[in-house]
């Protein structure tokens, strides 16, 4: 009896200790956006707690040793969009972030030919010449035009989205100012903007180029992470989204994070910790604590309640508002708007541990051409057919692949002479025929289709495979909580961008629940290893946004 009462007193005491340990902010989700958000908050002197459900930090930007001696960037595999000022402001380089630029975009073709686009413009020109001299001349012009647009769009991406539906006069003035600055970029850019925002990637590229061999690999940036084809209107914008990748201010430069993409998250975590943030792993949040319309904290799996002044959710909007908030706390109209927010993941991932480097038959050897990204996108028709299959609920038998072999430039990832290969695959629709939960039965067949497709270009591939991991959109949802396996936490379609991300009136990181904030890719400006939603959410909260 005595023992019992001691126990219960201890329980009460510990419960009291937990209850009273109030944080200024809890960040739910330890992905790169959550951690960047936490780092900014902690840097501003806030007492911050990050809660991650998995045993490792990083969310979709994570490195894991899946097979002894081999480190994989399991999900996200290149760093292209990470905002450079975030790297500076959070000192991520000092915290271990190092980015190795990609040297080449390599396109093997089925007829034994190939196209490489290099960092060096002259080399690229010579490559394109073989297919079209006109395109070779246009190529730098295209880059220049997109760069101009990107400089303008950067202002939109680096700031909260202006809201035309707002009735606040300050907001309207901001819109007018934006419109005026739009004007200052010149008529031609206004025209290009309209085109870019609404056209298909192929139609947009048709305005510049004639060669299918060039247009096909260029158009794919328009479909990554989106359930659309290269001929679907709206994909041109996503093309720009990927064009904005900048490393140390250099546009259109993609890179590997040394040690895997997880290093981005770990560097952000280190920055957050340095400023005093606490980070707990294996702490899945099952509910937000809401009292009279205000978020007071979170409930963990197991019942532990943690209180905080504010809660930042880096989870996707559906999980945030439908999964973790009790029925009845939100306006039903808002809930139905969130429910129709489109996630529907469309891509998968295959990770391979390789015993040796597998030669591409069109250009053998492990030279610079394979040290960047390798695209299996031989023609526009090939890509469009891959989409057509997926539209009706099947994974593409001959999918678009984006392959990287990061161990070629970062030997720390695999034992000497051996390699890790990461294959991004589209299309693998979340809503596959038979329902999302039928994915486990289809997983290996999907993996086979991917490896078979690649083996056509890379005949030694199958014999070199030591280990294979196949991730379907369903797996991404199960493993890291990405809703419907959408890598961007919501399609980057025009009606889900800017002031409408995730829904009109709520694109400023605030939510209808007081003190509950959004800071993940489902918020403006969207997905990719960009860090902007996390940064902008923190700065909005802190009131430290410039302009």
């Amino acid at each position: 009896m005595n023992r019992d009462s001691t126990l219960s007193r201890r329980t009460v005491l510990s419960a009291f200790r937990i209850m009273s340990k109030k944080y200024d902010a809890i960040v739910v989700g330890g992905g790169h956006n959550g951690l960047i958000c936490a780092a900014y908050l902690a840097k501003a002197g806030k007492k911050v707690l990050v809660l991650e459900m998995r045993h490792v930090l990083g969310g979709a930007a994570v490195s894991e040793e899946l097979y002894p001696g081999f480190t994989f960037s399991v999900f996200s595999y290149v760093v292209s969009l990470l905002r450079p000022h975030i790297i500076r402001e959070l000192n991520l380089t000092r915290h271990g972030l190092e980015i190795i630029p990609l040297e080449c975009s390599f396109l093997p073709l089925p007829d034994g030919d190939s196209l490489c686009r290099w960092a060096d413009p002259e080399l690229t020109r010579r490559e394109i010449m073989r297919f079209s001299s006109r395109d070779a001349d246009m190529y730098p012009e295209f880059g220049l035009a997109l760069k101009k647009i990107a400089y303008f769009v950067k202002r939109i991406v680096d700031n909260p989205a202006p809201d035309p539906t707002s009735s606040n006069p300050i907001e309207l003035l901001k819109m007018l100012r934006l419109a005026k600055s739009f004007r200052s970029v010149g008529d031609d850019l206004v025209y290009l903007h309209t085109k870019l925002l609404t056209m298909s990637a192929v139609d947009f590229l048709d305005m510049w180029f004639e060669s299918d061999v060039l247009k096909a690999p260029m158009s794919v940036s328009g479909i990554i992470g989106t359930f659309l084809g290269v001929r679907s209107p709206g994909t041109a914008y996503v093309l720009l989204h990927h064009y904005m990748g900048e490393i140390d201010g250099a546009f259109r430069a993609w890179g590997f994070s040394k040690g895997g993409t997880g290093q981005v998250s770990l560097a952000a975590a280190a920055a957050a910790r340095e400023h005093g943030a606490e980070i707990r792993t294996e702490a899945p949040v099952v509910q937000f604590l809401i009292r009279r319309g205000t978020c007071k904290g979170v409930v963990l799996d197991g019942g532990e309640e943690i209180l905080a002044g504010h809660v930042f959710s880096s989870l996707d909007p559906q999980r945030t508002f439908v999964g973790l908030i009790e029925n009845g706390q939100l306006d039903p109209d808002f809930v139905s708007r969130i429910k129709r927010y489109k996630l529907r993941g469309s891509s998968g991932k295959v990770n391979l541990a390789l015993d040796r480097f597998p030669d591409f038959s069109c250009r053998p050897g492990d030279g610079p051409h394979v040290r960047g990204d390798i695209a299996i996108a031989p023609s526009i028709e090939y890509l469009e057919r891959a989409y057509d299959e997926a539209k009706y609920g099947e994974f593409s038998q001959r999918p678009y692949l984006n392959v990287v072999i990061p161990s070629l430039v970062d030997p720390s990832l695999a034992p000497p002479g051996k390699h890790v290969m990461s294959i991004f695959v589209q299309y693998a629709p979340y809503y596959v025929n038979g329902g999302p939960s039928s994915w486990p039965e289809k997983r290996e067949a999907f993996g086979d289709a991917v490896v078979d497709t690649l083996a056509e270009y890379c005949p030694g591939l199958k014999d070199a495979v030591l280990y294979r991991q196949v991730l379907t959109p369903w797996d991404m949802e199960q493993q890291i909580g990405l809703g419907e396996g959408n890598i961007f936490q919501g399609e980057l379609s025009l009606e889900q961008l800017l002031f409408q991300r995730p829904t009109a009136g709520w694109a400023r990181y605030r939510t209808p629940i007081k003190h509950l904030w959004l800071c993940g890719s489902g918020a403006h400006p969207g997905g990719g290893v960009m860090g902007a939603p996390g940064e902008l959410a923190a700065k909005t909260f802190l009131g430290t946004l410039g302009g």
């Binding site: 004007r183 008529d187 025209y191 609404t198 209107p233 028709e381 379609s493 009606e495």
Partner: protein, 519 residues
């Protein structure tokens, strides 16, 4: 060398299609001296009737008259010139291979009753859908019935008209405004899936979102086409497109416009950067103060103008303006009335095939690869109901727009390919009108190739340029978006101008207004 005819025309209009006739009538009514030039032997262009088989007359290639602007009918007093409209917009029928199909009455209550046979939820949803369309209609029509605002004024600020237009959108209220902005870039499939669960209903409604375009219902931007169609849908003209052409022609002539048929314009003449007239039929020169082109903008700017008349930028923009023909026209002469298995004896004027959004999407897919689907998507108009003169007593005519049939067919269009397209259409028809193949007297197949050569439209694109979001927002290019062109005195107001193709007559009317403002 050339015979130069001194004329005292204020305006020469190239093309006497529905937009050309409209512009001509509007300008003539305002006292301008107008000459209309038509390359064919009759006026009307894509709206002209055509006797395709002895005793059988097909309505125009464009056969849906439900979009004709009501304000224009009044402004031109077209009723005085013989135009009659059915007070009610048409009912549209979606047949099924097995089943009664769905007859979508114009009256929302009756429509809801039919829909209720499929889904009670959709019956309610349909009323709400119609209510939403009714709320946003004034705003959408406000955009369609007016010259596009100048985005920026000359001082570099935001134009006053732009602000006014923006304000009209804001007056909708926050919720509808947000909804309108959300829908515009969406695809029709997503939007309709939010509203309805019945496949047949969704497919029926989705038709106009993709007709005449290079898009399927899953292509973003198609929702705007649907919204526009729903907003401007009004009563049908009695007697169809042909009757509309008749009335327009009578009005134009009554107001004093001259019309010359068999007048092929070879070039637009310019002098010092100004349009001075046109040259026709291999040498005859006609002069005028203004030239209005209602042919498609690619032809106007790239073919008819002397080289160097427009700068490289505009040339490039016009060159990349998308006008890929994807529509074929099939006219069917029947020796009796069409018998719809699902609706025996009921009068049906419009039929759209495709039983689900997926079927419509599948009909679109092959066009991307230069093929067409063996069961193409059909948009059928049955003129017998209001136009008994179109066929001998007891006989009838079907006017069928066949979507998605590419201009650039893999291989090439030839007699055999046209035959098999005709067969695919008949097979699709017979699925819901069994035995129809036995009552066919004659079948005319016009692919985009024939539409191009017969009507002089680039690639036979029936809207003079695809209805895609970018080409609707800025139509056809920024410098020509308000009907004027960089060539002084040259205007464009065919379907390639705002607000686009179809039998609305709006581009013609707005283009004429632009000329009046500037003269």
């Amino acid at each position: 060398m050339n015979h130069r005819e001194k004329t005292d025309y204020d305006v020469i209009i190239i093309g006497a299609g529905h937009n050309g006739l409209t512009a001509g009538a509007v300008l003539a009514k305002k006292g301008r001296k107008v000459l209309l030039l038509e390359q064919c032997s009759q006026v009307g262009g894509l709206a002209a009737r055509e006797e395709f088989h002895s005793g059988y007359t097909a309505p125009g290639v464009l056969h849906d008259t439900s979009g004709v602007r009501h304000g224009l009918i009044q402004a031109l007093d077209l009723r005085l010139h013989g135009l009659k409209v059915n007070p009610d917009p048409p009912s549209i029928y979606a047949p099924q291979r097995k089943g009664k199909g769905l007859l979508l009455h114009h009256d929302p209550e009756r429509a809801a009753a039919e829909i209720g046979l499929f889904s009670t939820k959709d019956a309610e949803g349909y009323k709400e859908f119609r209510a939403f369309v009714n709320r946003v209609r004034p705003v959408v029509n406000g955009v369609l019935d007016n010259t596009p605002p100048q985005l920026f004024d000359s001082g570099g600020g935001v134009g006053w008209q732009t602000l006014r237009r923006a304000w009209s959108v804001r007056r909708l209220g926050k919720r509808d405004m947000a909804e309108l902005l959300r829908i515009v870039p969406m695809c029709a499939a997503d939007w309709l899936n939010e509203w309805f669960e019945t496949d047949l209903l969704k497919a029926l409604l989705a038709g106009p979102s993709v007709y005449g375009t290079f898009m399927g219902p899953r292509s973003p931007g198609s929702a705007l086409n649907l919204l526009i169609w729903e907003c401007r849908k009004g009563p049908l003209v009695v007697g169809g497109a042909g009757a509309l052409v008749d009335a327009l022609q009578r009005a134009a002539k009554a107001y004093g416009a001259d019309i010359r048929t068999n007048a092929q314009v070879d070039a637009i003449t310019t002098e010092g950067g100004r349009a001075t007239g046109v040259s026709i039929n291999g040498g005859e020169l006609l002069e005028s103060k203004f030239v209005i082109a209602t042919c498609d903008p690619k032809q106007t700017l790239l073919d008819l103008l002397p080289s160097g008349a427009i700068n490289e930028t505009l040339e490039h923009r016009m060159g990349t303006f998308r006008a890929r023909g994807t529509t074929a026209k099939v006219n069917v002469a029947l020796d009796k009335r069409i018998q719809l298995a699902g609706r025996p004896g009921e009068p049906v004027e419009m039929v759209r095939t495709g039983e689900s959004l997926d079927e419509l999407e599948q009909a679109f897919d092959p066009v991307k690869y230069g093929r067409y689907h063996e069961r193409p998507s059909l948009d059928i108009y049955i003129p017998a109901i209001t136009d008994s003169a179109c066929a001998p007593e007891g006989h009838s005519v079907l006017s069928v727009l066949v979507h998605f049939v590419p201009y650039h067919l893999k291989g090439r269009w030839n007699y055999r390919e046209r035959e098999s397209l005709g067969a695919a259409v008949v097979a699709t028809l017979s699925a819901f009108a069994p035995g129809i193949e036995d009552s066919i007297e004659s079948l005319e197949v016009l692919t985009a190739m024939e539409l191009e050569s017969r009507y002089g439209i680039t690639e036979g694109q029936i809207f003079h340029g695809e209805h895609a979001l970018d080409q609707l927002l800025i139509r056809p290019t920024p410098e020509c978006a308000r009907y004027g062109t960089p060539v002084e005195g040259l205007y464009m107001c065919g379907s390639g101008s705002h607000p686009g193709g179809g039998l609305t007559c709006a581009p013609g009317a707005l283009g004429a207004r632009a000329v009046l403002t500037n003269s």
